[in-house]
């Protein structure tokens, strides 16, 4: 093993070394526990870092410096936030459904953490290699909707319920194009295993799925849906402060609120990780010469780019209206994703070069046409009639 390989596999070697202290019977369990602890530790600290990056970045976007009081350049702000959250009073509304109110954040954080088990973070670095990795990711991701419903219902608050209903409607609508965008990759690699998918993209950035016509469009679709799935701006209608006073989060405070917040960021990073795995070569280096940099650093570098993009978009775009949100999902993303699946099939069956012009022409036509449709769509009933204002 060369030094480069050793650094590349350092987390795995460390795990093996730690496991070797235990009796053989316990070893698989200990290995699992260590993987789980590593995932929780790494991504929870990434969550802390990304909240800081978000607050600083949003500040810079809005011409202000952002948090800069705690520690040098405000670096310890997440720590202060965490302490504040922990010692805050946990308020439960009097008529709330106590059990659901208590269970909702737990039921949300567990799937958010569970989906990381199938993300290959580096070469051989995956908590659970599973034949059905991609399906597992989406199946577990689908169950977060129920937790949000529990939060909204359990709070016994109109705004919470409204917010959670909006969130579920939005998540269901956007899950469809997202899964369809992922299906293109499954079609191309004929595998649901995330490790196989990453290995199919080895060799350099030109082998990544994002650099094929269908892959580019699928990545774009997937990214838009990822924004909506993690309830981030401009799709943050469910927790719109100005309309719904933060939706299903209204009645939560203290540690439970922190859990919701954490679940949002974990979900965002998990979906970004999935997008990287499916379209951007996972832990593969963009050029073969750069292979000396450890594979997990490539993964986290790409993840950081995604998080920055999320923050950048949040700082730029205004919130969508509810009907615009639904139109975008059903009238634009869904047809594009369906067409894209056909093109991916064409790509797989044809020898490659012939698929380029066909894909570009068809996708271009579809995007322009559907875009016009989208722009032309107005709320039903033509001119808005105000009942009470006139």
């Amino acid at each position: 093993m060369t030094l480069v390989e050793r650094i590349d596999q350092a987390p795995l070697l460390l795990q093996r070394w730690a496991v070797s202290f235990f009796p053989a019977l316990l070893q698989p369990w200990v290995a699992m526990l260590i993987s789980a602890a590593a995932i929780i530790g790494v991504f929870a600290s990434l969550f802390a870092l990304s909240t800081l990056a978000e607050r600083k970045g949003l500040g810079r976007i809005q011409n202000r410096p952002g948090p800069n009081r705690v520690g040098p350049f405000g670096m310890l702000q997440p720590l202060a936030d965490g302490i504040k959250m922990l010692i805050k009073e946990d308020i439960v509304p009097l008529r709330a459904d106590k059990v659901l109110h208590f269970l909702a954040p737990i039921a949300l954080i567990v799937p958010s953490l569970l989906v990381y088990s199938v993300l290959p973070i580096g070469r051989n670095l995956i908590a659970m290699q599973c034949q059905l990795g991609v399906l597992l990711f989406f199946a577990i991701g689908a169950s977060t909707e129920l937790s949000i419903f529990m939060a909204g219902w359990g709070s016994h608050n109109k705004y919470s319920l409204l917010g959670s209903i909006r969130a579920i409607a939005q998540m269901i609508s956007y899950e469809l194009p997202m899964v369809l965008a992922a299906v293109t990759v499954i079609l191309a690699t004929s595998s649901l295993d995330t490790v196989n998918i990453v290995e199919a993209q080895a060799g350099g950035f030109w082998a990544w799925h994002a650099f094929t016509p269908w892959g580019a469009i699928a990545l774009l679709t997937f990214f838009i849906c990822a924004l909506a799935e993690s309830n981030r701006a401009p799709f943050d209608l469910p927790e719109a402060e100005s309309e719904l006073i933060a939706g299903h989060l209204t009645e939560y405070s203290g540690f439970k609120y922190a859990l919701f917040f954490m679940a949002e960021y974990l979900g965002m990073m998990a979906i970004s990780g999935m997008a990287i795995t499916l379209f951007l070569g996972g832990w593969q280096a963009p050029l073969p010469i750069l292979n000396f940099i450890p594979s997990w650093m490539w993964f986290f570098g790409k993840l950081a780019c995604f998080v920055v993009l999320f923050i950048w978009i949040r700082g730029t775009l205004p919130r969508l209206r509810a009907d615009q949100l639904m139109n975008l999902a059903w009238k634009f993303l869904l047809p594009i994703a369906l067409l894209n699946i056909g093109l991916a099939g064409l790509w797989v069956k044809s020898s490659g070069w012939i698929a380029w012009p066909i894909s570009v022409i068809l996708l271009g036509l579809a995007i322009v046409g559907l875009g016009r449709l989208l722009r032309g769509s107005r709320p039903r009933g033509g001119k808005r009639i105000y009942r009470y204002a006139d």
Partner: protein, 172 residues
């Protein structure tokens, strides 16, 4: 019978019983979701990984949410009508019939001599895909199911969409 199986079975049965006997319909829906989830876990336990994940996605991700949405959309009436689970005697009469049927079947099965245990079958996702698309009758079934689901989708939309006059007049 192994301990994991017993735990999963207990969760399935307990949450299913809660789902049919609780007063609050939202609780019923959530308990049903838990029962579906546990059933998915049972499939995973029985080596049917694909089926387990599909169960999770379809039942927990879609059907349970659909049920809860329906509960909310019809809430004012359900709160009044079903606050008490019907007339109590009727419920228990139903329960008696059902338990008799279920118990009879279960007791027959309890003495059922199972065929000799075979090795656990492995069915990879590639094989499932091949089975679904290569064998003649499965393709036909697949197409029929696809048609059925399209029909069901359109039918459900037509049934649940509000009548045209309801939507006129701005943000009613």
């Amino acid at each position: 019978m192994s301990i994991p199986f017993l735990i999963i079975a207990a969760v399935i049965l307990a949450s299913a019983w809660a789902a049919v006997s609780l007063r609050n319909l939202v609780h019923c829906g959530l308990c049903a979701a838990l029962s579906f989830l546990a059933t998915g876990t049972l499939y995973l336990y029985l080596n049917a990984e694909f089926l387990g994940l599909v169960q999770l996605m379809v039942y927990v991700g879609a059907v349970a949410v659909l049920i809860l949405f329906t509960v909310l959309l019809t809430r004012p009436a359900t709160e009044a009508a079903d606050a008490v689970p019907t007339k109590r005697p009727a419920f228990w009469k139903g329960a008696l019939i059902a338990i008799t049927v279920g118990g009879a079947v279960a007791s027959c099965l309890a003495v059922y001599a199972a065929p000799k245990a075979s090795t656990a079958p492995e069915l990879s996702i590639q094989e499932i895909g091949r089975l679904l698309t290569a064998s003649q009758q499965n393709v036909l079934a697949l197409i029929i199911v696809a048609l059925l689901m399209t029909t069901a989708l359109i039918g459900a939309l037509l049934l649940a969409a509000p009548a045209e006059e309801d939507t006129k007049g701005g943000g009613a």
